[in-house]
Each structure stands twice: as structure tokens, then as C-alpha cells.
Amino acid sequence: MLAPFPSNRVSSGIMPIPPLAIRDLSVQYGGRTALENFTWTAPERGLVAIVGPNGAGKSSLLKAVLDLVPKAGGTAEIFGKPVSEQRDLLAYVPQRASVDWDFPATAADVVAMGLYRRIGWLKPLRAADHVSAKKYLDMVGLSEFADRQIGALSGGQQQRVFLARALAQAAKLFLLDEPFAGVDAVTEGVMTRVFRDLRDAGSLVIAVHHDLSSVKDIFDTVVLLNREFIAGGPVATTFTPDNIARTYGVPLSLNSGQ
């Protein structure tokens, strides 16, 4: 007979619910398929890079998980429930280029948006919220830029403002779209440190990533996709030249960067 112990562990709920479980997810724009039958279950915690060539459906994957684009098929569950019931547990950082940085707002104004859900509808921001926003700006090394108009910040600083906004959400699951795109070395260092702190605190960070050469340095888990799931797992065993070649369609040297 099989030992009863492991199955007991499962049924008694010790087996954790994954932060993100995606089954057979498909996304279509018009008639074009951006993602097809994507299935993947995220680890409980860690730093995950989503890697694939341009047009592989990386952003579409995040947006479909978040209900920002309609799913053509399949499901995505956040801690075992649909995203609409788990908004308190997740934080999303869109691509930096997706918003108008000329908008009349300061860095602190944008970070405070991460508090809006907890403040609730119809209620105004209070002095304590501004103090709180500055605390999160401090965590990304931007405390002296709190009152700076966001358009007057560098690209890397803008990306850090977005990261601080996500931190303000106090989430368990962080979904970031190209957070390292076009940022300076200081920002890259700050983001890597913040990601590790989040992981150590038990959160899961999932980031669309374009720079193959830095995957090993920053992330512990990788998902390779090209319109469909190619491979996923620990970087050490999954991020192999063979899998990368299967993802990009051609053998690609790791050192060539992107």
C-alpha cells in the first residue's frame, strides 16, 4: 500500500494554492492569434522572467491574466480564484511607454494611486496617504523627487515610480511588463534589490523580460514562450541553449544580448 502521509498533506491544505495558474489560455486580436493554449502554474514564490521574441505574446499573456484583453479561451486563476476577486493581492506595472508622462502629476501623486483601492471609492486622499507615498518612493531611492512632475524624471526614475506604486499596493503577486527596458544601471540595481526583498518576504514577482544576458543574474525561474508555451522552470535547468533556440527559432548565443 502507498503511504497515506503525502496525500494527507494535500487534502489537509498544506499544499499551497499557486499564486497564478494558467490553463489553455488563448488570446486573439482580430483574426490574429497572439497566444495559443498556454498552460503554466507559477511557483509559490520567487522571481520569474517571461522570455520570448518580439510578438511572442508576452504582454498579451499578462494582459489576458489581468482581464485587460479578452481571453479567446482558457482560464487564469490568482490564488485559486478569478482575477476580479483577487485584486487586493496583485499589483500590475504596465510598460512605461503605455502612459502619457506629460500628465499633470508628481511622482508622489502617481505612487499614491497604489493606495486608491485601500482608500476606496469617492474618498479623497488624506495627509497620511501622502506620507505613505513618500515612504514607498524612499524604498526605490526617489524620496527627494516626490514633488517632481513625472515628465521631468528620467526613464529609469519613471520606472522606479511605477515600482513604488506597485509596492504601495502591498500585493502578494507582482506582474511587470518590461520593467528593465531602457533603464539606467542605478535603476536596474534598485529594482533587482526590491525584487529580492519581495521574494524574501514571500511574494511572487513575474516580469516580462527582453534581455537574455541578464536572466541568470536577476531571476530564479524562467518561462519561455513564442505564441505557445515552450518551457518553464528553474533558470539553471530550463534556460538552456536548446530551449532558447526552440523559442527563438534560431540558435542564439547567450552573450550576444538582445
Partner: protein, 304 residues
């Protein structure tokens, strides 16, 4: 004094209130890059107003508002339909719908005969502030006489109602409007629907359009919605300050614009006065030009 109260005060109030309500919602049209939506709303409400009048036989405020909203809603749905189902580019869809709706409105106006009795196409196009008069006014005491106040032009009540509704909603939903205008995808992930807030902005623009249409007219509506917020935007990087400054510029445009319409021809010895809607829009435009030339934040000197 009496002639000022009878003729100038009500007209100046109508022009100023129209400028205020348009500027207030205009802030969010400009921020979401939908300035032309204000223009579109002015055009599409015309057939709604005419149909509502023909059906109900009255120009009561709620009848006009219902007709205007129905037309605005129908147009918004038509634009969405053209965009999603037929793949028409958004601004082309907007352009096609609002000109077609306006043409339908003019056609209905002519065919139903109300063009000669109730509505004047010229007034709908260019506005007509001057018919807002207060014949019951007889000296300064009328300002405190309820019976006299009750005979103030009905446009004033409509404009005050519109201004209160738009202001109340913007104050209550200020942070929701801010996050949706800045980052709609993020707003959606925190449970604030950009589609719902967007529909609210369209509705408030329609409300502002319908209450101020008789004062400023279809053509100048977009100037009232865009100029004060755009001027304020050049002077500040804070959204709340921008909204408040836009109200200040709207107020100044209303007061100075009307004063110029009355006083400028007198200064040159003409008996007639200028159309105040036009001079209000011109003053609003001059404020914007001045802000572009001399503004500290956004002006030509900084970017040149």
C-alpha cells in the same frame, strides 16, 4: 442700474456659467485627448433636443436633457459600433457620427417647422446670450426680491443645475478620474473601470453641452471646453490647481468677454453690440495665447 440688471447681468451670468461648466469637464476631455468629443457632443445633442421638443411639445429642462442624453448615448454607441465592428479609425468614426447627427438635427429642425418658432439655427450655431434678460428687475432691491428672482431667465437655472452636477461628480470622483485619465490599464487592475469612468466623462460633456448650447452655440462650445483647461495646463503641473485655474480663466473669459462685447462698439461709436459668445471665446483664446507665450511651465520659451 436697472438696465444693467435687466440686460447685462443675466446675459453676463449666462455666458460665465456656460464657460465654467464647459471648462470644468473640459479638463478631463483635454487630459484624455478627447477634446473633439466636446465638439461632437454639441453637434449630436441637436437632433435629440429637436425630437424631444416635437414629441413633448415643451422646452422644459428635463425634456431637453432627456433628448440630449438619448442622442449622446446613441451617438457614443454608434461610434463604438463603427470602431469595433467596422474597424473605422476612432476619430474618423467620431467625425462621421457627429456631422451626420448634426445634419439630421438641422433637417428635423427645418422639416418640423420649429426652426421658425422655437429654435433659431443661427442661435444654435453661434449662441445667443443676449436674449437672456430679466425684465422684472427694478433696481438693486430686485436682487433680494424672491418674486423678481423667480423671473430670471430659465437658462440660468439650467446652467446652475449643470454646473452643480458636474462639479459634485468631479469632486467626489476626483481620484478615480485622475487614475483613469493617466493609466487606464492600471485603473482596471485596481477595480476602477475605465469604460465606466469614460462613459461618465462623455455624459458630463453631454450635460455641459446641452445646458450651455443656447448660450454659446455649437461652434464655440469646443472653445469653451478646451481653451481654459489648456491655458491652465500651461501654468501648473498639479491636476487640482489646473482644474481651479481653468475655472478662473473661464470666469474671466465670461466677464471680460461680455464687457468687451458691450463696451467695445460703444467706444467706436457704434449703436449695436457684438455677439458676446464670440467675444468670450476670443478672450479665452487670448488667455491661451498669453499662457503659451509667457507661461512658466509649458510655454514656447521653455521648449524652444
Amino acid at each position: 442700474m436697472t438696465s444693467f440688471l435687466q440686460i447685462d447681468l443675466p446675459a453676463m451670468l449666462v455666458g460665465t456659467l456656460a464657460a465654467l461648466v464647459c471648462a470644468l469637464i473640459g479638463n478631463f476631455l483635454v487630459l484624455t485627448r478627447q477634446s473633439m468629443l466636446g465638439d461632437a457632443m454639441g453637434h449630436v445633442v441637436l437632433p435629440g433636443i429637436v425630437i424631444a421638443f416635437v414629441l413633448a411639445g415643451t422646452t422644459a429642462t428635463w425634456v431637453m436633457l432627456t433628448g440630449a442624453f438619448a442622442a449622446a448615448l446613441f451617438s457614443a454607441m454608434l461610434v463604438e459600433f463603427l470602431r469595433r465592428m467596422a474597424g473605422v479609425e476612432p476619430s474618423a468614426a467620431l467625425g462621421a457620427v457627429f456631422t451626420a447627427m448634426f445634419a439630421l438635427g438641422v433637417l428635423l429642425l427645418e422639416q418640423s417647422g420649429v426652426a421658425r418658432t422655437t429654435f433659431d439655427v443661427h442661435h444654435i450655431l453661434f449662441g445667443n446670450i443676449e436674449t437672456a434678460i430679466w425684465p422684472a428687475a427694478a433696481g438693486i432691491r430686485s436682487l433680494f426680491d424672491l418674486a423678481a428672482l423667480a423671473s430670471l431667465p430659465p437658462q440660468l437655472g439650467r446652467l446652475a443645475f449643470g454646473l452643480v452636477v458636474v462639479a459634485l461628480i468631479i469632486v467626489l470622483l476626483f481620484k478615480e478620474l485622475r487614475v483613469v485619465s493617466f493609466d487606464p490599464d492600471f485603473a482596471r487592475t485596481i477595480g476602477i473601470s475605465p469604460r465606466m469612468i469614460g462613459a461618465l466623462i462623455v455624459s458630463l460633456a453631454a450635460l455641459a453641452a446641452v445646458v450651455s448650447l443656447s448660450a454659446v452655440g455649437v461652434i464655440l462650445l469646443v472653445a469653451m471646453m478646451v481653451c481654459p483647461p489648456a491655458t491652465a495646463r500651461m501654468l501648473t503641473d498639479d491636476l487640482r490647481t489646473q482644474v481651479l485655474l481653468s475655472l478662473l480663466f473661464a470666469l474671466a473669459s465670461g466677464v471680460f468677454g461680455y464687457a468687451i462685447a458691450v463696451l467695445l462698439p460703444l467706444a467706436f461709436g457704434y449703436e449695436i453690440s457684438l455677439g458676446a459668445a464670440g467675444t468670450i471665446a476670443v478672450v479665452a483664446g487670448l488667455f491661451q495665447l498669453a499662457a503659451m507665450l509667457f507661461g512658466p511651465k509649458r510655454g514656447i520659451p521653455r521648449t524652444a
